[in-house]
Point group: D2
Chain length 99, copies 4
């Protein structure tokens, strides 16, 4: 199991606000029933690495349907094989170190 | 005002767990009283761009004090000048598009 | 066509040097005959977005075969649909602005 | 000594091409005489961590002077204290593993 953070940036939009594109990604994840968390800097998604990257390819393609001509997608994939990693585990581990 | 996501990765630690280093960063931010949010993929911090990057330099240096020999720090700085950007604003904007 | 930068970081290795893992990725790309450029901060690869992300999944898995227990892969995928983007095009465009 | 990769993305520009902003950063680095390499995915710069992040703050501010209202800057800072790291060292180390 892995955790992936995904940030999708459409370029050449007329305004600097891109919340509508992030909203579309959020709705796609809700429809697919994928465990995820929206943050101010991206979307964190839980799953198998190969499935996560295939999902990233589908989400990356979404803004082009609205006339966007360039999309820059950044992602970080964090996979451990010594233990399961699920959403919330890493923040919980940090809190455990502090407590 | 800007939002910065910071992820600090120590390399060559004996175990794959790095929660103790993230915990130290969390404590440093609490001590400095900087508005921030811990996520599974990093720490999101609010402030002025120049101050945020100076803070990043200080946080990046922390793991070396514990014998770590290499640190890779990734950060994303998102600044808008057409409106204030604060922690939580971007997720709120996405939710507003969905509602 | 798109350009992808890929950086694969194994965690919990005994030493801070990870060149051997990057070398294995480089060799895999040479074997597959994929157009790419090695830089000091990652590997830049040219291809179709879906194929690039499938390739990223295969490359991300490589270090685990050597006993690594955690791998953090960062990638940036830059796709344009208003024109072809190939390796070297973006640096050439910048040079054209300077000249 | 450290290596930093910097990518500056202006949002809300009218066209998807942002080469002119990258060119301005390139020229600023040439004027300052900072050792750097331009790649298709960013600029790789060599220096001391604190100086590199202060430089990142200055470069991040440049596009705003041209009416851009939002800039997203991504950077990766890679510092080693067990040995000097200079531009070209990491690609050379990978090549040495392959040879």
């Amino acid at each position: 199991m892995a955790i992936m953070q995904l940030t999708i940036i459409p370029l050449g939009t007329k305004t600097p606000s891109v919340g509508q594109y992030v909203a579309e990604i959020e709705l796609a994840l809700q429809r697919e029933g994928v465990p995820h968390t929206l943050t101010d800097m991206g979307t964190i998604i839980e799953g198998e690495p190969q499935a996560l990257l295939a999902l990233a390819a589908r989400l990356h393609a979404l803004p082009f349907a609205h006339g966007v001509q360039r999309v820059v997608t950044q992602l970080v994939l964090d996979e451990r094989r010594d233990k399961e990693v699920k959403l919330g585990d890493k923040t919980a581990a940090v809190q455990a170190h502090i407590a």
